[in-house]
């Protein structure tokens, strides 16, 4: 299978040659060729389930391909068991931080290979070397602090520094901006550019095409396990890229969801009844506390909620659905007070919940799709004696699966085996299964590809349009907010301003989230 390697300039430091991988009846990868040269940044894009994760796991030595091979600088890849050899060649920075929170920055950077003197850890050398590496790359982190006190951005820096300390010159960044706020994203890009110009090869995986255009020299598009496009970025347009990702199948909604949202007449503020009234909520949270946040959602209304990472956007959503307790304030739903900290009470009152972290709250991984999708209506589906047949669940789940175009090998397939986007569909299905009067969705499109994102937003918009349900959409993706009738901006746990005229201007939203000039507000 091996091709002759050209020793020419710009020879790839890592290449996948005709790599194929199959899981059961699913062909995850077919004849995939990818090559990455030093000092280049290669974007890898594709819809959920296109085979990105499989390719990543093969490139970083977590599994071996069925056919084809991975080569490093022309040499064959080390055996899978030789983790150390793999880690010295390629390092992956995953979406979820892999640092050990209880250890210091220095320890995390040298994890697995602490500098030693006569078998004892040489703390002084470790700190000195850490400082040297951080200085060399101009990273601003204190080597002596424990990682649990660091921000997401700083943890990412630690992971990158650890890779560089091992001598790795190939970095694989998997959705690195997913949990970063805007300024941090900008700083990350600066760092990536510095790394690339110093000769590091970067493989950049993202759902955000504008990011790919901004920092990637080349881009590879995967679709159904095959490379459908491989080209330098500058010659491409965003439409071409989306076209390659989606293929001949017309994107299920294209702009449908958004068009409908902006074309729709918002319910008349004065007449529509107040469905959800949140007043003066104070709540503590590590991820953004609330200091007297208030808002109103009327019947049939779609309200967006946005803000910086620590502004309390997610916290407010979680407080409303009862997933997070609060110190003071009141929440009324349809005129009745809602019991605090009780998700079951919120569900019974008619609130559907799409959690921010689907792995944590979205589904039970080893149970089947149908069971997860109907979890919120299990007691409703059960007969008087509480009996609940699997066939009943499947019957109730099928229309939801069709509506959301869920891809699974059957509704009994465990959710943990699905791709990220399909897992998210299961989570959304669970929220809408109960036909709620209000859906609280917290960053529902995070980690979801472009087409599935449109589909999810369209499903939410459709539900609110058809049934008159209200929607509270908390998101830091301004594109998502375009389906909303109003957008409320939180700054430091309080409502800062509100935008009432879609379409919303990104610049104005950014300024508002930063707590600057209240442009476009009332």
């Amino acid at each position: 299978m091996s091709k002759p390697t050209q020793p020419a300039e710009g020879a790839p430091v890592i290449e996948a040659n005709s790599v194929s991988k199959r899981f059961g009846s699913t062909q995850a990868l077919l004849d995939v060729d990818v090559a990455l040269a030093p000092g280049r940044c290669l974007g890898l894009v594709g819809r959920n389930g296109a085979g990105k994760s499989t390719l990543v796991s093969i490139l970083c030595g977590l599994q071996s391909p069925d056919a084809g091979e991975v080569r490093f600088g022309g040499d064959a890849a080390p055996p899978l068991a030789d983790v150390r050899a793999w880690r010295s060649r390629i390092a992956t920075v995953f979406q979820h931080s892999m640092v050990v929170p209880q250890l210091t920055v220095a320890e995390n950077i040298f994890l697995g290979d602490l500098p030693r003197r006569r078998d004892l850890v040489n703390w002084r050398a470790m700190r000195a070397q850490t400082r040297a590496i951080l200085r060399e790359w101009d990273f601003d982190v204190d080597p002596g602090v424990e990682c649990e006190t660091l921000t997401v951005e700083q943890r990412q820096i630690v992971e990158i520094a650890a890779a560089l300390a091992r001598g790795t010159r190939i970095l694989l960044l998997d959705e690195p901006t997913a949990a970063l706020e805007r300024d941090a994203v900008r700083r990350l890009f600066d760092r990536v550019r510095a790394l690339v110009s110093a000769g590091v090869a970067v493989l950049y995986i993202s759902h955000h095409l504008e990011e790919v255009f901004e920092i990637c020299h080349d881009v590879v598009v995967l679709r159904d396990g095959e490379v459908v496009l491989s080209a330098p970025t500058p010659g491409l347009t965003e439409d071409e890229l989306v076209g390659a990702m989606v293929g001949d199948v017309a994107p299920p909604v294209a702009a449908g969801g958004r068009a409908r949202a902006t074309g729709r007449r918002a319910p008349d503020g004065a007449q529509a009844s107040e469905r959800l009234v949140v007043s003066e909520i104070f709540a503590e949270s590590a991820r953004g506390s609330l200091f007297g946040a208030s808002l109103v959602v009327r019947a049939g209304e779609r309200v967006g909620l946005t803000g910086l990472l620590g502004a309390g956007v997610a916290t407010l959503g979680r407080v409303i659905v009862g997933a997070h307790d609060y110190q003071s304030g009141t929440i009324e739903f349809d005129g009745r007070p809602l019991a605090p900290g009780r998700p079951d009470a919120a569900l019974a009152a008619g609130i559907g919940y799409i959690p921010e972290d689907r792995w944590l709250e979205g589904f039970v991984g080893h149970l089947g799709c149908a069971e997860n999708m109907t979890m919120s209506i299990a007691s409703r589906l059960a007969g008087r004696l509480g009996l609940l047949m699997p066939s009943t669940r499947t019957r109730a789940a099928r229309p939801l699966a069709d509506q959301l175009s869920l891809v699974s090998r059957g509704l009994a397939q465990p959710v943990q085996e699905l791709s990220g986007g399909n897992q998210q569909k299961v989570t959304v299905a669970r929220a809408i299964a109960s036909k709620p009067k209000l859906i609280v969705a917290i960053t529902p499109t995070r980690g979801v590809d472009v087409a599935s994102k449109e589909l999810l937003l369209a499903a939410l918009a459709e539900l609110t349009g058809d049934t008159g349900a209200s929607l509270l959409l908390a998101s830091d993706e301004f594109g998502d907010l375009q389906i909303c009738d109003r957008v409320i901006v939180l700054v430091r746990g309080q409502v800062f301003t509100e935008f009432t005229e879609p379409p919303y201007d990104d610049e104005a939203l950014i300024a508002a989230t930063e707590g600057l000039a209240a442009v476009g507000s009332q």
Binding site: L347, Y353, E361, S405, V407, G410, Q413
Partner: protein, 348 residues
């Protein structure tokens, strides 16, 4: 490329015929995992008949059945608790204290009772109530008080076992009323009543777990408690309920044991250290300590396996002083085999 991997929109609109097929296959796979120990049990049956001609007699097998039913019912209780993501080491003490309190209230002062001499029917109600109260206390401490289940029940088992000893000054209580002993001692033809009861309990709980909405909630809570909470399940209430059910089942196990031996010994349960066998049977049978996985078929085969091993060791005239070591070793071997046969999910 097969149609199952076709692009999203195509699959979704297709009729779901292949899905049904697939779901049946998954169900079959789950059954195989649950039944992973059946071949081992087959081997033990052959081994047993080779060791002694007595093995394959009705009276011997009935005796084994009677012996394992008390353990088995307790294993059902522990399995439920493990499945919902908890653990209860104090079931062994409940297994002793519940019948002890009942016996203490039933037998005359001369037989170390307290003299109230209540009837056997009331005695059984007391036994169930003791189980329920212990389960309720454990459940509240662990679920509402957020105490670590392992440490709390480790402490509780010592306290409860100590109460059992202390309330009768270390005596065994004989002369149990017939009505109280009936479940553990009686035979329906050649079959012990306790075995029938245990089988009924296994089947009923197995069906409950599979087809009742609360049974499904137990799996969901054990698999991912936060997701279950976010889906609107009353997680705390169900967890406490499972601790209560587990303790009541342990009390019923204790009732069977008391009936079988015709007395309540001061060391019944805690003193004998049966909790090791309870956990071993559940885990060998594929009930994962991680929670959320396992079933009654597996748990039952774990119980049968342990009972057969014990019986074969007895019949094989193995030196009494070595029986414990061999018994323990067999459990470890069974654990390894369950892991090999059942794959990743079991034996964790």
């Amino acid at each position: 490329m097969s149609e199952l991997t076709a692009p999203e929109t195509v699959v979704a609109t297709e009729p779901n015929a292949p899905f049904e097929h697939r779901s049946r296959r998954l169900a079959a796979a789950a059954f195989v995992r649950g039944a992973a120990l059946l071949p081992v049990i087959g081997v033990l049956l052959i081994l047993g008949s080779a060791v002694s001609p007595v093995f394959f007699t009705t009276s011997n097998l009935a005796g084994v059945g009677q012996q394992i039913s008390a353990l088995g019912v307790t294993v059902v209780g522990e399995s439920l608790i493990i499945m919902i993501g908890g653990m209860d080491l104090s079931l062994e003490s409940t297994y002793g204290l519940a019948p002890m309190v009942a016996a203490w209230l039933m037998v005359p002062v001369a037989a170390y009772g307290n003299g109230t001499t209540i009837g056997p029917f009331l005695g059984i109600l007391v036994l169930l109530a003791v189980g329920a109260v212990i389960g309720l206390i454990n459940g509240f401490a662990i679920v509402k008080g957020r105490l670590n289940g392992f440490i709390w029940t480790l402490g509780a088992t010592v306290v409860i076992g100590g109460i059992q000893d202390g309330m009768v000054n270390g005596q065994s209580l004989y002369d149990l009323p017939n009505g109280f002993s009936w479940l553990g001692a009686a035979y329906a033809g050649p079959i012990p009543v306790s075995l029938i009861a245990a089988v009924v309990i296994f089947v009923a709980v197995g069906l409950f777990l599979r087809y009742h909405s609360i049974g499904r909630q137990i799996y969901a809570i054990g698999g991912n408690r936060e997701a279950a909470r976010a889906a609107g399940m009353r997680v705390d209430r169900i967890r406490i309920g499972v601790y209560v059910a587990g303790s009541v089942l342990a009390a019923i196990g204790g009732l069977m044991e008391a009936g079988r031996v015709g007395s309540v010994a001061a060391d019944q349960g805690y003193g004998e250290g049966i909790i090791f066998n309870v956990f071993a049977a559940a885990v060998i049978g594929g009930v994962s300590l991680k929670g959320g996985r396992g079933g009654m078929l597996g748990a039952a085969s774990g119980v049968v396996l342990l009972g057969l091993v014990q019986n074969i060791l007895d019949l094989g005239n193995v030196n009494n002083y070595w029986i414990t070591a061999i018994d323990g070793a067999v459990i470890l071997i069974a654990l390894v085999m369950a892991r090999v046969v059942g794959g990743e999910v079991t034996a964790e």
